[in-house]
């Protein structure tokens, strides 16, 4: 009997994702800027889903306020660009800013449980939104454009943005991947299952949750940066909207809360729905909300979680398997 | 007349089986003591009879297996739960009044307070502020308010000083004399043997000994309690 991390399937799949990443990098060279822009949106969704899952699925923290960091990333980019920093440098700085701001917020937010945390984060997002709205230099309530990007020719700009999105997605997913494979990962599972029991075993709950929270702060900030890079124009009511949280909740619930692959599946699904129902408006949102609620009540493990359970399948080697002579039994 | 029949009772908590294939009967007017070490399955058995756990059982000719807990009270089964489980924010009177059912009988707030006179001056005190003995009295009184035909008592002596337990059992004897059928779980062997007509001893979820309290010698009971084998 031995404890195994990699199986044939997961080795194949991980190798496959590396190949996929390389292939994706070639996208701007092959497709039109329109397609590239759409795929950038897909990458933004993947990033957001992975981050929200990191918070809720692995950390047990349900935030309805991650749009705070999306907004900081977006407006931060504009702010730094206006200070004369080159646009893509401004994007890196804005991401760092979002992550930095998440640290002091974590000092108090992480002491809140469940509903207080969820709505507390929402209120924080509202506060930041109001502060931004008051700043005339950032376009106040009417919005602002990242005109500094106009120095690039549209095709190149779209390509650079796509590569940045791909880089962010890979970096944050990889960070999450290694986090989960580390001893930290197992303790996170313990925290999610029973926080008090984990604490009594010596797991430093607060530190671990803070790590996830800050990671999500960076990640959502990166997403915000990509939003302004991709769409060029932002306004407070859209970039700080709780609608982002709605999308994140949908992607993760439907994809599979607490699984690594689930959120990616959820992002692809949402992307597919969004591109099919472009004029959907209220009907498609009704569908989203109802589906999210139904999954929460009836299929809490999401699509991927259920598939994983039924087939014993694990594509990414994030857990452990206990292998006996003939039969394989999954443990983690 | 048989009031309660329990047949091949199986109770689980997830993968853990707490009660295995237990069967017994209780006749009307009997007082039966359920004894056994911690973890033997006594509380689970009591909760199953009261409806908080779903096993197979027949009460007064009615199959109660599918009947939820709150409706078993209307049928005449009342449990005094382990740990009392009073409603801490409600007063003594409110705790009692909340438990009235449609069943008619001699028990109401006034008669309960007569049987537990220590509660009279504490009538409007919140349950959280009562002493252990007072809480136990309220817990028993609360179960009585539904005028049950079968009274289930789970560890009423737990956490109470001996002198308090004496008082509780004195009131209990009055209740029993009124003709109630009682199934009680009691850690204190002596008390159990004194108040009960029949004894059922459980070990690891099974019934290992059953008989009249008077005819069983203490030695035999102790051996069954701890699962010691009798010398050949």
């Amino acid at each position: 009997m031995k404890v195994q991390r990699w199986t044939r399937t997961s080795s194949l799949f991980t190798g496959g994702t590396a190949v996929l990443a390389v292939l994706l990098a070639c996208v701007p060279l092959v497709f039109d800027p329109d397609v590239v822009q759409k795929l950038t949106t897909l990458l933004i969704l993947v990033l957001l889903a992975a981050m929200w899952n990191a918070l809720a699925g692995y950390g047990g923290m349900l935030s309805v306020g991650q749009q705070a960091f999306i907004g900081i990333g977006a407006y931060g980019t504009v702010f730094f660009a206006r200070q004369g920093v080159s646009p893509y440098m401004a994007m890196i700085l804005a991401t760092l800013l979002a992550g930095a701001i998440s640290v002091p917020i974590s000092l108090f937010a992480l002491r809140l449980r469940a509903a207080q945390f969820a709505i507390g984060m929402w209120v924080i997002a509202e506060v930041i939104s109001i502060i931004v709205r008051l700043d005339q230099n950032l376009g106040a309530g009417t919005g602002i454009s990242l005109i500094e990007l106009n120095q690039y020719e549209p095709n190149f700009r779209q390509a650079y943005t796509f590569w940045l999105a791909l880089a962010f997605a890979v970096i944050f997913l990889a960070a999450l991947f290694f986090l989960l494979r580390s001893p930290l990962g197992t303790s996170l599972q313990a925290i999610r299952d029973d926080e008090d029991a984990a604490r009594s075993l010596g797991v430093r709950v607060a530190a671990r949750k803070r790590l996830l929270f800050v990671l999500a702060g960076f990640g959502c900030g990166a997403a915000g940066v990509l939003v302004v890079a991709n769409t060029l124009f932002i306004e407070p009511s859209s970039v700080f909207s709780v609608q982002w949280s709605a999308y994140m909740i949908f992607m993760v619930l439907v994809g599979g809360l607490g699984t690594f692959e689930g959120p990616i599946l959820g992002a692809v699904l949402l992307f597919a729905i969004q591109t099919t129902f472009t004029q959907g408006g209220p009907w498609y949102l009704v569908g989203l909300g109802a589906t999210a609620a139904l999954f929460a009540l009836a299929l809490p493990r999401g699509l991927w979680g259920t598939i994983e359970e039924r087939l014993g399948l694990r594509l990414m080697p994030v857990g452990y398997r206990v292998v006996e002579a003939q039969r394989e039994k999954k443990v983690a | 007349m048989t009031l309660l029949t329990v047949e091949s009772l199986d109770c689980r908590y997830g993968l853990l089986q707490a009660v295995r294939g237990v069967s017994f009967e209780i006749g009307q007017g009997e007082t039966v003591a359920l004894i056994g070490a911690n973890g033997a399955g006594k509380t689970t058995l009591m909760r199953a009879v009261a409806g908080a756990h779903r096993p197979h059982g027949v009460f007064d000719g009615i199959d109660i297996t599918r009947i939820p807990a709150h409706r078993r009270v209307a049928l005449g089964i009342a449990l005094v739960p382990e740990g009392r489980r009073l409603f801490p924010g409600l007063t003594v009177e409110e705790n009692l009044r909340v438990a009235t059912s449609r069943r008619r009988g001699r028990w109401n707030v006034k008669s309960v307070l007569e049987v537990f006179p220590l509660l009279q001056p504490r009538r409007h005190v919140a349950a959280a502020n009562l002493s252990g003995g007072e809480q136990q009295a309220v817990a028993i009184g609360r179960a009585l308010m539904s005028n049950p035909r079968l009274l289930l008592l789970d560890e009423v002596s737990l956490g109470l000083a001996p002198v308090v337990v004496d008082a509780v059992y004195r009131s209990l004897t009055d209740v029993i004399r009124e003709g109630a059928t009682v199934l009680l779980v009691e850690q204190d062997l002596t008390r159990a043997l004194k108040v009960a007509g029949r004894v059922i001893c459980m070990l690891e979820g099974r019934v290992v000994l059953e008989g009249d309290a008077a005819s069983l010698d203490r030695d035999r009971v102790v051996r069954a309690y701890f699962g010691l084998k009798r010398p050949a």
Binding site: F108, A115, Q116, L285, G289, A293 | A52, H70, V98
Partner: protein
């Protein structure tokens, strides 16, 4: 004088918030659920009143009386379909399910009615517009008095219900220990349904007042939810009278904030809410030493 007037207007505003928050507080007190669709339920109530007013021309208050039974039924349905399942599932599930529900309600409203704003002020009669000038700087509106009176009445009635009626004791018992309640013959399912029905009905009342004081549209729900939740938290979660106090505190904070800068009103409420959270949950103990240390380091240089 403007300060006193601001506080007075804040009390009237706060009474409205208290009514809005009451239902949220009840559901949390009895079931430990925060219904993220609460604001949307209030707005739904406002729309039902609106529909009745449009079709019959009666006053908004009469229309509300007719809308009330509809809301009560909706409350029962809500409990028995969505909330009951989420109760057994865990802490996150009710939040997620009600969040999804919130989106469904908002968008169904948007499909049924246009995205335009509506108001019930026109059909509420003289209450909407009357006011008395008490002194040169102090004005008291009829609507403010009505809302304040209704708020006190509603909270008072609930208090009486919970402390003096058997149904109220049953609800408190179930809130404190649902398991033990079942063992004494209480059907916790129906108690929860009753609590939700009451909560939804009072939320609809909040919606009525929202429609009379100002305007509403299909997406007004989330804003009302935030105010309601802030009121509940400020007053202390789980305390009924605390919610009334919290609502008023929130209202006063907002009107005082407006004195500083018109756009600062809502922000002032948010800051009060966050401050209460910090103080109550000890985050201050972590933040304060850090801040003190940082300040000391600076002065040491």
């Amino acid at each position: 004088m403007t300060l006193v007037n601001a506080v007075l207007q804040g009390i009237f505003l706060g009474a409205f918030y208290a009514v809005l928050a009451c239902g949220l507080s009840i559901m949390f007190g009895v079931m430990r659920i925060i219904n993220l669709a609460h604001g949307d339920v209030a707005v739904l109530g406002a729309y039902i009143v609106f529909v009745i007013v449009e079709h019959t021309g009666v006053s908004a208050f009469v229309a509300f009386a007719a809308a009330l039974p509809v809301m009560v039924v909706l409350g029962y349905i809500l409990q028995l379909t969505v909330l009951e399942r989420s109760l057994k599932a865990g802490i996150l599930t009710p939040l997620l399910a009600t969040f999804g529900l919130s989106i469904v309600i908002q968008n169904l409203l948007q499909l049924t009615f246009s995205p335009d704003v509506h108001s019930l002020g026109g059909s509420a009669g003289v209450v909407t517009t009357s006011s008395w000038q008490v002194t040169s700087g102090l004005s008291v509106s009829a609507l403010g008095i009505v809302v304040l009176a209704v708020a006190v009445l509603v909270f008072g009635a609930l208090q009486v219900f919970l402390s003096r009626t058997r149904a109220g004791w049953v609800m408190r018992a179930t809130a404190e220990d649902a398991d033990a309640a079942e063992l004494v013959g209480i059907d916790s399912r129906s108690v929860y349904a009753r609590a939700t029905a009451i909560a939804v009905a009072i939320a609809a009342l909040g919606g009525l007042f929202l429609g009379i004081r100002s305007v509403f549209d299909p997406v007004s729900g989330p804003t009302q939810l935030i105010f309601a939740f802030e009121a509940v938290v400020i007053g202390g979660m789980g305390s009924l009278w605390g919610t009334l106090f919290g609502g008023i505190a929130l209202g006063v904070a907002q009107t005082l904030g407006a004195q500083v800068h018109p756009q600062f009103a809502v922000m002032a409420g948010h800051l009060l809410f966050l401050a209460v959270l910090i103080v109550r949950f000890g985050g201050g103990r972590a933040v304060l030493p850090g801040v003190r240390r940082a300040l000391l380091l600076r002065t040491a240089r």
